[in-house]
């Protein structure tokens, strides 16, 4: 027989109180999945698009200022480069999103043309410069995506031959400046358009994404919207590992040859920084920028606090490994023999395996039924 003491009764009462407090909170606040969607969108996606829109505006302004001066100074030129780097970091924050306005008619290619295996950027930009057409925003908008966006600007700002300050003071300097300003302004238009498509005062895709339900044409329930977040995490780390790291450095097979011109942002030697920014943003997506994210959902709803912690650690140590690479990826002489690169590769493999295998299983969401071993 169990003796019921005063102590037991007290603790039972406390337990009951605690339980009813929890259910009260649960009754008043949205269900966890809806909270994940709202916090991830508001605290990460929306702020990231805002950041990209803002930095691209500052880039366009810096370009205009540089070109407005009667003689171009190295100081204002460096400022354009600085703003370009900030814009790349901001773009890396949204680059991997696998849903929404970014996918409609391929907006990403207006922002970045990569990889450029045939050196099309140099050829098309120079052809456009040699033409006699006015180089304004309309001309850029009508042009091929190859001359648009951050990749074209990278050529104009960092190419060893064409992207130097001198290039702006010689005979074609004025046209080069026109192009620089037009492409930067056009880029800001694309970035601002994406932000506008998401924000509540604009196209309000935010509403579509977080107010799921029967009458929502795209997201009839939370699980489909959550699946898009999952896709973004997996596709993001896959792209970093395969396309931004292993393949250009020849680490994708035992016999792989390095093809460093496949690196992202090779002209500015900014590949490592962009990878780090990608990983930071994917981690921010996972934890909803310290709001109620997939990490909390895993812990509270799926009782998988262990996996949540592992994934957080996976991001943290991948980012640390990327930062520990002392040189630019472009200047790596023998990738296979550099310990920091192999360590980073190993961190990415572990993280990817958690995201691709453990996370979908824990969430009960399939990564893609027809996508996987289809027919």
């Amino acid at each position: 027989m169990i003796a019921i003491t005063t102590q037991t009764i007290k603790s039972m009462a406390r337990g009951a109180l605690a339980v009813s407090a929890v259910s009260l909170i649960a009754a008043c606040s949205p269900p966890p999945a809806a909270k994940v969607l709202a916090d991830t969108s508001e605290r990460y996606i929306l702020t990231s698009y805002h950041e990209f829109s803002t930095t691209s505006l500052q880039l366009a302004e810096a370009a205009a200022q540089f070109c407005a001066a009667p003689t171009q100074s190295s100081e204002t030129f460096e400022e354009v480069r600085t703003q370009w780097r900030r814009s790349v970091i901001a773009w890396s924050g949204v680059q991997n999103l696998q849903f929404g306005p970014l996918l409609v008619d391929n907006q990403a290619w207006k922002i970045q043309f990569w990889p450029d295996k045939k050196n099309l950027i140099a050829r098309k930009v120079e052809t456009l410069l040699r033409s006699e057409e006015a180089l304004d925003i309309k001309r850029i908008d009508d042009s091929s995506v190859v001359v648009q966006g951050l990749s074209s600007l990278e050529y104009l700002l960092f190419d060893q031959a064409a992207g130097k300050l001198d290039s702006y003071s010689n005979a074609t300097g004025a046209r080069r400046c026109d192009l620089l300003v037009a492409v930067a302004t056009h880029l800001h238009g694309v970035a601002a358009g994406l932000y506008d498509a998401w924000r509540p005062e604009g196209g309000d895709y935010l509403h579509s994404f977080i107010k799921t339900g029967k009458n929502n044409p795209e997201y009839p329930d939370d699980s489909i919207a959550l699946a898009n977040l999952l896709d973004t995490l997996v596709a993001g780390v896959e792209l970093i590992k395969r396309d931004k790291f292993e393949r250009p450095l020849g680490l994708d097979s035992d016999t792989g040859r390095a093809q460093i011109y496949l690196l992202e942002w090779w002209r500015s030697q900014y590949a490592k920084e962009a990878i780090t920014a990608n990983l930071n943003s994917l981690q921010t997506l996972f934890n909803a920028n310290d709001g109620y994210g997939l990490d909390d959902y895993l812990t509270d709803v799926k009782q998988r606090g262990d996996l949540s912690t592992k994934i957080q650690q996976g991001f943290t140590s991948s980012i640390a490994s990327a930062k520990a690479i002392p040189n630019s990826l472009f200047s790596t002489a023998k990738p296979r023999e550099q310990a920091e690169l192999i360590a980073f590769q190993s961190e990415l493999s572990q993280l990817l395996s958690l995201l691709r295998t453990d996370l979908p299983e824990a969430l009960g969401i399939s990564l893609g039924f027809n996508a996987k071993d289809g027919d």
Binding site: Q98, F99, G100, L103, V104, D105, N106, A108, W109, F113, K117, S144, V145, V146, D204, H207, K214, N215, N216, P217, E218, P220, D221, S223, I224, A227, N228, D231, A235, L239, S366, G368, F369, N370, A371, D373, G374, D375
Partner: protein, 360 residues
């Protein structure tokens, strides 16, 4: 009322009936998986009108109009074909492929509906591609096999002349002993083959532009334009066009992507469908989470719509729309000219399999 709010509520009004029980689309045949298992059936409005559980994944299907029967094919390397009465939903026949053969998951009928043609693997002949011929009037008895002179035939269709089959030759050799593993990775020979039914001869062949560009799914317009979609078997992304157009006697031409083909990271086309006037085609790209709409006259890409894990695509002439399905249980309408997809039905927890067929 602000304009945006008006639009939102107007959209809500328009959408509501789509999800209620009302006819916004012609019923579709599909294979699917859900928590209860794998099944095949007929989906009408918001429910399975016919549903049959099967022990493995299904693939494509066809509606036998003359006989009012639904025909479902097993996914490779399955050996079963199911014939269901379209009115009663009763299973009429379960056909097994002949010993030494398995199905690739697709089939089509002769113009008069008498015969059924299926793509098959002649395992006994070291994985040679074969077209099975079945007599629908004799309980779908297999009466012959014709060689298609290529390994890994996948989707096939009857040309408008009623005499010729067009066959997408995937090129991939597999044998049941090694499952779905590719056995000839270095020597694939994907192609488009035209087979004259009367003589059994291949009367035209078009090799794929790259040996790893596996041609898998196709459709034919009423005037004989064939559109075929590819799945790349090499290092991704291939940067090769994935959708091609062909007319008898002409060259296999890549559809014009502008520069947009560069967006494909995983190079995988699942379904191809052409409308009843040969104006538009749709291709689904599940691994890239998009659906593409093509202008067939100018052979160029018109629009790219996001759709997660997109799968089946079929034209529905009764509602002048393409019906799309995906792995997340959604059936969506694509109407050329409209900026977004609109929902038709949602089967929560259901994963629609690769192909849809119209009940008409």
């Amino acid at each position: 009322m602000q304009r945006r709010h008006f639009i939102l509520s107007a959209t809500a009004l328009l959408c509501a009936p789509a999800l209620a029980k009302s006819a916004n689309f012609t019923p579709v045949l599909s294979a699917a998986s859900d928590t209860a298992g794998k099944h095949i059936g007929l989906w009408r409005d918001d429910h399975w009108q016919i549903s049959k559980t099967i022990p493995h994944r299904g693939h494509d299907s066809l509606f036998h109009r003359q006989r009012q029967e639904l025909v479902f094919f097993s996914r490779r390397p399955g050996r079963e074909m199911y014939i269901i009465d379209a009115r009663s939903g009763a299973l009429r026949h379960t056909i097994s492929s002949n010993a030494g053969y398995h199905y690739y998951g697709h089939g089509c009928t002769s113009a008069d509906g008498r015969f059924l043609y299926t793509t098959e693997n002649n395992i006994a002949d070291n994985g040679a591609g074969s077209i099975g011929v079945y007599d629908c009037e004799q309980s779908y008895q297999c009466i012959a096999h014709m060689s298609c002179d290529g390994i890994g035939p996948h989707e096939l269709a009857l040309m408008p002349d009623g005499k010729t089959l067009v066959i997408a030759i995937g090129g991939i050799k597999t044998l049941p002993a090694s499952g779905r593993e590719t056995l000839n990775a270095d020597s694939l020979a994907p192609a488009l083959h035209y087979l004259d039914i009367a003589s059994g001869e291949i009367v035209e062949r078009q090799a794929a532009p790259h040996f790893q560009l596996s041609l898998r799914h196709l459709d034919v317009s009423p005037d004989g334009q064939v559109v075929v979609g590819a799945q790349f078997q090499g290092s991704l992304p291939s940067r090769l066009p994935l959708v091609y157009s062909h007319r008898r006697g002409g060259k296999l031409t890549a559809m014009d992507y502008g520069e947009q083909h560069l967006q494909f990271k995983k190079d995988y086309i699942a379904s191809v469908s052409i409308d009843d006037r040969g104006e538009h085609a749709v291709s689904s790209c599940p691994r890239d989470n998009v659906v593409c709409l093509w202008d067939l006259k100018h052979q160029k890409l018109l629009k790219v719509y996001p759709l997660r894990d997109s799968a089946g695509a079929i034209y529905d002439p009764n509602f002048t729309q393409f019906i799309l399905s995906n792995g997340s249980g959604q059936l969506m309408a694509l109407k050329p000219g409209q900026p977004t997809l609109t929902p038709l039905a949602y089967a929560a927890g259901t994963q629609w399999d690769n192909h849809l067929t119209l009940l008409s």
